[in-house]
């Protein structure tokens, strides 16, 4: 699999929370190459099933979750042809001024984000981030044409093409969480050449950025025995301490904390070691803010794990990841799934602890 070209397609395809149609289409096609079935549910989750070979009925199942939606902008008011907007999900207002956008009106329109020039700003304001309500989108058309083509509630995405940086790094928009979608594709491709007893649901979840909403409903519908969420996590960079970050290109971050079933964490670590795959352990003392948080408390509870893909500059349009890390996450997931046998759930106990080094 050409991961870079997959990530390029995934990242450049629009799919703002609640409006994931286009990217869902792309993801469905990618998953369908390796899965037995692909379907879309009522909330727009794209669900691929790759059946296992286990004989026991009903067959055990594991759910993988990586979200398909990206943060974006939504038009709140149109004044004299200029578009006022707010965010869908948590866009960083510091990086919006001067961006190129695509406004998804009756047809797609190129636009730019403007504000007042620095020359006329009072000194006090010059030092500050411009709040969202002082920014606007200019599509260059006369007011009457704008009102015809764009309505309140239409969306806009930041325009960005993938940049291949030196070394193993690439940067683009929406790697949060399309990098995880790519990792799930790698996992499915790997599994095609492996034996696995359990059914595997690879779920591209919708609406994660606005409250983990797709994960809530898809986990309820699938009622899997186990789940692993894959999401991005803060990579090391100037201004952040080692305690707040994991390292780039040093492997998947296997998260540990109350959101994670300890035995699943340990099994992931054992799997990484057996593969001689570099990995990092990332503590998460409370809410992880990921799909794992919602899945864990679905129905009567689902043992859940979380794998982080190290990423710099989260929620900007230059999110940066290591291609190798993405590939490693996919391989780790596949090897983990291959380990799941008929007796795995019986060994997934709380006491005595399943041995494993941290």
């Amino acid at each position: 699999m050409d991961i870079v070209s997959l990530l390029k397609t995934l990242s450049e395809t629009p799919g703002i929370s609640g409006y994931e149609d286009q990217v869902r289409q792309v993801i469905g096609e990618v998953f369908a190459r390796y899965a037995d079935e692909v379907r879309t549910d009522a909330l727009g989750n794209v669900i691929a099933l790759k059946r296992g070979t286990g004989k026991a009925e009903p067959r055990r199942s594991i759910m993988l979750a990586g979200h398909t939606d990206e943060i974006g902008l939504i038009i709140t008011r149109i004044e004299q042809g200029f578009l006022h907007f707010t965010e869908v999900g948590g866009f960083d207002p510091r990086v919006l001024l001067g961006q190129e956008v695509v406004v998804h009106g009756r047809r797609d329109l190129p636009g730019i984000i403007g504000s007042r020039p620095p020359h006329v700003l009072p000194p006090a304001e010059r030092e500050k981030t411009i709040p969202l309500d002082k920014l606007f989108i200019d599509v260059g058309l006369p007011a009457d044409e704008v009102e015809e083509l764009v309505h309140v509630g239409d969306l806009a995405t930041v325009r960005r093409e993938l940049t291949q940086l030196k070394g193993d790094f690439i940067a683009s928009k929406a790697f949060d969480d399309r990098a995880a979608v790519a990792a799930m594709a790698v996992c499915l491709e790997q599994l095609a050449g492996m034996q696995h007893a359990w059914d595997v649901y690879a779920v591209g979840t919708s609406q994660e950025e606005v409250g983990l909403r797709g994960a809530i409903t898809s986990a309820f519908g699938l009622a899997p025995d186990l789940a692993i969420a894959i999401d991005v996590t803060f990579g090391n960079q100037p201004g952040l301490s080692a305690a707040e970050t994991v390292e780039m290109n040093k492997g998947p971050a296997i998260v540990y904390g109350p959101n994670i079933h300890p035995a699943l964490h340990d099994t992931l670590v054992e799997t990484a070691k057996a593969l001689e795959l570099p990995y990092q352990v990332e503590p998460a003392p409370g809410r992880t803010g990921t799909d794992a948080w919602a899945i864990q408390v679905t129905r009567s509870g689902i043992p859940t794990a979380l794998i982080g893909i190290p990423l710099r500059y989260m929620h900007t349009s230059v999110e940066m990841v290591s291609v190798k890390d993405v590939e490693r996450v996919g391989r780790l997931l596949a090897a983990f799934i291959a380990r799941l046998d008929a007796g795995f759930m019986d060994r997934l106990t709380w006491k005595p602890a399943i041995s494993g080094e941290k």
Binding site: G18, A42, H151, V152, G221
Partner: protein, 332 residues
């Protein structure tokens, strides 16, 4: 409809204490549904059976209102209180409240220092005076809940009351039940409880009903008053069809259905992008395996004050919109 609206807004019913308002609504909808029941949380659920295998549709308007709860009674009979739902301290001083047993109280404040005069007086400094001469003559006790007291005012085109959030939604649902003569759908009209404290009634009623489409009918803010927030919704420009609010993105198909219906019957409508606050539809949307959900909003000024204002034409047009939507097949 104004008589119905007046009756609904003037009835007591803070979150968790919806018995009286439920009783009033139950009387209003008598004979309009095939089944009526009250569930474990207190939601009033009226079902109108469809004839031709349409969809199972849930419409929700919450019958609870914000209020205050007594936390302490002092020796002289003054009551300290906490908020039930999103009470705005700006609106409290000098206001009146009414308890379930009819006890009226007025809200007073501790001494306000000169430097504090320009600030909002926090809840902790306020108290309720029920006119008692001492602790023993206080006719309510700790844990009792009061609603705000304010008469309904008919200004002609515009109406003012406390609790338009969301009794106006309840009125719209009741009138829709009256006007809807025939529908292919199995329609559940839910008068939900505890919306103001976390969409709790919608959560459980949606789980029980398992709708194939869910709509809330609730109020939304407007951007049409002096120096208001940036928002395109105005009073009198038609019911607002929700695109987004603080916690929900409406299902694009539901939004489209409402827009097309409004255009087909020729009523004005507005598209709503609300940055804060949410409705029962948020809970309905993530019920079980997920439900395509949206919201018909009644534009409302001064939400969560005792003087909320709506436009009567928006209200009647919302009824027309819902009736027209329910009369036709629903394709999302």
């Amino acid at each position: 409809m104004k008589e119905l609206i007046k009756k609904l807004v003037e009835t007591y019913g803070p979150s968790g204490n919806e018995d009286k308002i439920r009783q009033v609504i139950q009387e209003e909808i008598a004979g309009l549904a095939d089944e009526v029941r009250t569930d474990a949380l207190g939601n009033l659920i009226a079902r109108k059976r469809g004839q031709n295998g349409g969809k199972r549709v849930m419409l929700a308007a919450h019958m609870d209102e914000i209020g205050v709860i007594v936390t302490h009674v002092d020796e002289k009979g003054f009551l300290r209180f906490g908020a039930v739902g999103g009470v705005w301290p700006h609106t409290l001083l000098g206001g009146r409240v009414v308890f379930a047993n009819g006890t009226v109280g007025v809200i007073g404040t501790e001494k306000v220092e000169d430097e504090e005069r320009n600030k909002v007086i926090p809840l902790e400094k306020l108290f309720i005076d029920v006119g008692a001469v001492d602790k023993t003559s206080v006719p309510v006790q700790i844990g009792d809940v009061a609603g705000f007291s304010r008469p309904f005012a008919d200004m002609g085109k515009r109406l003012v009351a406390k609790a338009f959030d969301d009794r106006i939604g309840c009125a719209v649902l009741i009138q829709t039940m009256r006007d809807l003569k025939k529908t292919p759908h199995d329609v559940y009209f839910v008068f939900s409880v505890q919306e103001e404290v976390g969409l709790r009634g919608a959560m459980t009623s949606a789980y029980g009903i398992e709708p194939e489409m869910g709509l809330s009918v609730d109020v939304t803010l407007t951007g049409d008053t002096p120096e208001a927030q940036t928002m395109a919704v105005e009073l009198g420009k038609g019911p607002a069809i929700k695109v987004k609010d603080g916690r929900m993105l409406a299902h694009p198909g539901v939004k489209r259905l409402l827009v097309e219906t409004a255009e087909a019957i020729g009523i004005p409508y507005q598209l709503e992008v609300l940055e804060r606050g949410t409705t029962d539809a948020t809970a309905i949307q993530v019920s079980r395996e997920g439900v395509p959900a949206g919201c018909v909003s009644i534009p409302c000024r001064y939400v969560h004050t005792p003087s909320e204002m709506v436009d009567y034409d928006d209200v009647t047009n919302a009824v027309k919109l819902l009736v027209a939507m329910l009369e036709k097949p629903i394709i999302l």
